[in-house]
């Protein structure tokens, strides 16, 4: 029985990643090319794991929103300098 478990575990680890590894590769894939083997194993994992598919989608959304972050705000800044801060900065520029 114990032996069977070991075989199942070995098979499982050899063929499929854990979610921990799969999500690491999802992050890595956004910035660099995966090896062919890693890419295939990730596809296999995603095909059978609902949670990692969700993570993949949400991860893409986070990255896209992060990239929008400054562009969106530079046209209509959320954070603005107070009058006091503006005066401080003007003093520094004037003193040089």
């Amino acid at each position: 029985m114990n032996n069977d478990n070991n075989i199942i575990k070995k098979l499982k680890n050899g063929m499929m990643f854990s979610c921990d590894t799969a999500t690491l590769l999802i992050t890595k894939r956004e910035h660099t090319k995966l090896t062919i083997l890693d890419g295939l194993r990730l596809q296999m994992h995603l095909a059978s794991c609902k949670f990692c598919r969700r993570f993949d989608e949400q991860s893409k959304e986070i990255s896209a929103q992060i990239k929008d972050f400054s562009n969106l705000k530079s046209n209509n800044p959320i954070h603005k300098l107070s009058e006091e801060q503006k005066n401080n900065l003007s003093d520094i520029i004037d003193s040089k």
Binding site: N5, S18, Q58, I66, P77, H79, L81, I93
Partner: protein, 190 residues
């Protein structure tokens, strides 16, 4: 040759670019005091080097590039001071058992709902994202901002922040896991 050269006018910097630069710094530093400090440094550096400004880019682009460098410098200094502590990372994967390394049931991703009002959703999302970003440990935040926000090359980020080309992915991975969970917890699902 000289007709297209851009001119520099320090007296108009605050009124023309002040809010834009401040906002740029604030969204990357999550602190008004730090943002103001780095803006000061930026203007001081700009005034010192203004004679070298060749006018190839606009005044705005030039000021932004100085500020960007200041932000990277800030993160380089702060991330060497703060090593990552394992204890405050709440790992969402099972630590042992048959499902070792698989999502822990309570922390697995839930659905983020439908995209009904795209604009409202985006502004809400950005506010939560900004808050969650400010809660990340310094080292995670610095790698995340330089790599994901600024899209700086991996080798360069590693050189600046003192990580290796393999542990940068682990750091980014953890930053992403924490951000995702924080967003989900604070997301108001209608």
């Amino acid at each position: 040759m000289t007709s297209n050269k851009q001119l520099i006018n320090p007296n108009l910097w605050i009124s023309n670019y002040g809010d834009m630069l401040y906002n740029y710094a604030y969204s990357r530093l999550s602190s008004s005091v730090l943002a103001e400090d780095l803006l000061q440094d930026t203007f001081v550096s700009a005034l010192k080097t203004k004679d070298n400004f060749r006018g190839d880019s606009s005044e705005k682009t030039w000021l932004f590039s100085i500020l960007k460098r200041k932000i990277i410098d800030y993160y380089r200094k702060s991330s060497t001071k703060n090593e990552i502590s394992e204890s405050n990372f709440n790992n969402p994967f099972n630590k042992d058992g048959f499902f070792e390394g698989h999502w822990n049931k309570n922390q697995a991703p839930s659905s983020w709902g439908s995209h009904t009002d795209e604009y409202l959703r985006q502004s809400e999302f950005q506010a939560i994202l900004e808050m969650c970003l400010s809660l990340l440990p310094e080292k995670h935040k610095s790698v995340f901002i330089l790599k994901v926000m600024e899209d700086i090359e991996t080798d360069k980020v590693c050189k600046d922040l003192g990580c290796t080309s393999s542990n940068i992915w682990v750091i980014l991975h953890r930053a992403k896991l924490q951000l995702r969970e924080c967003i989900e917890k604070n997301w108001i699902n209608e």
